[in-house]
């Protein structure tokens, strides 16, 4: 590459970074604005204040936001754990065993992945009310599996397919017991795939809005995105913009941390599951 070309690709890279971070930078800037500064029309705050954060963490809006944060973490982690466990078994079978229906399981996962969420919500809304799951954690964890399970199966089976399974036998030939071979050889090889799948599944559950807003009615189970969508200020006369911005920043922190720590794996997981040959 010539020097001139290099500079152009470098500028392109910087442009991508700006494109990706600009709206996030804006919501962060907004979250530090004082009530009087919100309508200034400026990008950056004129003097950063923490009013919005104290409003949602300790102030009037905290009894709306904090329970939602707990709900989101609890529900998403449980749903992620369940779908990882189920797809671990399924992906093992798909990657290693020869059985009819392998294709059926994979295509079912695909169909479920493209299923319109709202088509599931409508009937569940009615059924959940009748059997008492409306506005409860299990009432969200169960439908969340429709979001997390298909992608987990695809991603994990793509990872498992690349594991050199012969190494298990090699270890046994060298005198390891079946359990040792599994623990010392297979688990370390499979763990990164399982872990990456868990992150992606967590992102998807964390992002849910339709289930959260339709199947809950109080802070018993309402997750953060739904709480944000319904946020209308601590009082009727208060502009909720600052509080929403601060809450938006807080729910964005976990995903940004995950991205920064595991970016390479996440990219591999996202593309492996979909196009990798």
């Amino acid at each position: 590459m010539s020097r001139k070309e290099k500079i152009w690709w470098w500028i392109g890279g910087v442009a991508i970074v700006v494109y990706c971070l600009f709206p996030i930078g804006w919501i962060v800037a907004l979250s530090f604005k004082s009530a009087g500064d919100l309508n200034s029309g400026d990008f950056l705050p004129n003097g950063a204040v923490l009013d919005n954060y104290s409003l949602i963490l300790t102030g009037n809006a905290s009894d709306l936001f904090l329970p939602a944060l707990v709900n989101s973490f609890g529900i998403c982690l449980i749903a992620t754990a369940i779908s990882c466990l189920l797809s671990m078994f399924a992906a093992y079978a798909i990657a290693r065993l020869d059985f009819p229906g392998k294709k059926l399981v994979l295509s079912t996962a695909l169909v479920v992945a493209i299923f319109p969420v709202i088509s599931i919500v409508t009937p569940l809304f009615n059924v959940w009310r009748q059997i008492g799951l409306y506005d409860t954690w299990p009432g969200l964890i169960i439908p969340y599996l429709s979001l997390t399970l298909p992608i987990s199966i695809w991603t994990m089976s793509a990872f498992f397919r690349e594991i050199p399974w012969e190494m298990e036998q090699a270890a046994q030939v060298d005198g390891a017991t079946t359990w040792q071979a599994f623990r010392k050889v297979i688990v370390p090889l499979a763990a990164p795939g399982v872990f990456t799948t868990a992150i992606i599944a967590f992102f998807i559950a964390w992002n849910d809005f339709v289930y959260g807003i339709s199947l809950t009615s109080t802070e018993n189970a309402r997750p953060v995105p739904a709480a944000l969508g319904l946020f209308s200020g601590a009082s009727q006369f208060e502009d909720p913009t600052g509080a929403i911005a601060a809450a938006a920043v807080i729910v964005t922190i976990p995903v940004v941390v995950l991205v920064l720590l595991f970016q390479r794996r996440i990219v591999a997981g996202l593309t492996n599951g979909a196009v990798k040959g």
Binding site: S87, D98, F99, P123
Partner: protein, 320 residues
């Protein structure tokens, strides 16, 4: 007992059993296969097939949750009501418009991003890769709020920054009419989902054989010729997979519309219509019918893609 639920040693060989002859071993392998994959399979059916059947059943009744006594069987009447209502066609039009615009822009923009990423120098590659994952990982509702506040007549900076563009001034109300509302919704959707497309395309780009590029270069092909004659045809599978997934995803658009306009000014999508009928108006019968119609539309789009463009998802990922 150190022996746990691990499969016996003889089953650890790579899968290459010849078809046709069913030995005891392949029989037990089948059994184990279903034993392991079965639970996930059943859960997937349970959380989708069952609800959609329930919705189909409920769509045949005139049923309002606030008035359960008057629940009665009306056959296909709910569908007739919906299909003869302009609301449905309006919502379908809006949904299709958003889908076509966002997917088209995302494909072009995503390809550009993928090209840059593939060429980006080693020193900035990790930064670019981390940045590109941010929009993907950010909650759609957060992205929708960010874009809404940016364009908002009170809190936004867009009006003051872009006042030099004809038609934009300090009191431009972007959410005051259909066209501009949809524009902002599309912008938010494009920002959020282009990175995902670009990652898929980047993976496709990496699969184009380098030799072909070199050969074309030697033969004197221009950059544009190499792009259209070598690169693009060789990554058709990746493009089609990205296109199919994003189209179906875009067709379900809901979150951004809910946050930004709440369906005002005729910006309602099909998903939003179903939500409003069921959850807000408690018209279980009508809402279920909209849900079923939405489901059928998605199936139709997927079928068109797979038959029309011959997208073979299984072979695209090496599944044979």
């Amino acid at each position: 007992m150190t022996q746990t639920t691990l499969p016996p040693v003889e089953k650890t060989q790579p899968v290459s059993a010849p078809h046709g002859k069913i030995s005891d071993r392949s029989k037990s392998e089948r059994k184990l296969g279903w034993l392991l994959a079965g639970p996930a399979f059943l859960v997937m059916l349970g959380v989708t097939a069952y609800p959609i059947l329930q919705a189909t059943y409920e769509s045949l009744f005139s049923y309002r949750l606030t008035d359960p006594a008057n629940r009665e069987f009306v056959g296909l009447n709910n569908y007739l009501v919906i299909l003869s209502d302009t609301l449905w066609w309006q919502a379908l039009g809006v949904t299709l418009l958003i889908t076509v615009i966002t997917v088209a822009v995302e494909l072009v923009l995503g390809f550009g991003l993928a090209l840059v990423m593939s060429k980006a120098l080693k020193s900035i590659r990790p930064v670019v890769r981390a940045a590109i994952l941010i929009p993907y990982a950010v909650i759609t509702v957060v992205s929708a709020f960010a874009w809404q506040f940016a364009f908002d007549i009170n809190t936004g900076f867009v009006n003051s920054w872009f006042a030099w563009i004809p038609g934009v001034s300090a009191d431009t109300d972007w959410f005051g009419e259909t066209g501009t509302s949809l524009l902002v919704i599309c912008l938010a959707e494009i920002w959020k989902t282009t990175p995902f497309i670009s990652l898929l395309l980047l993976a496709g780009l990496a699969q184009v054989p380098e030799v072909l590029q070199e050969a074309a270069k030697v033969d004197g092909a221009t950059w544009w010729q190499r792009m259209t004659k070598v690169t693009l045809p060789n990554m058709k599978a990746a493009i089609m997979v990205a296109l199919l997934f994003r189209t179906l995803d875009a067709f379900r658009v809901f979150d951004s519309i809910f946050v930004m306009t709440g369906g005002a000014n005729n910006t309602e999508s099909v998903s939003f219509l179903a939500y409003r009928q069921t959850i807000s108006r408690l018209e279980i019968g009508l809402g279920s019918a909209v849900s079923v119609l939405l489901f059928l539309s998605v199936v139709l789009i997927a079928a068109l893609f797979i038959k029309g463009f011959k997208v073979d998802l299984a072979s695209a990922r090496g599944e044979r």
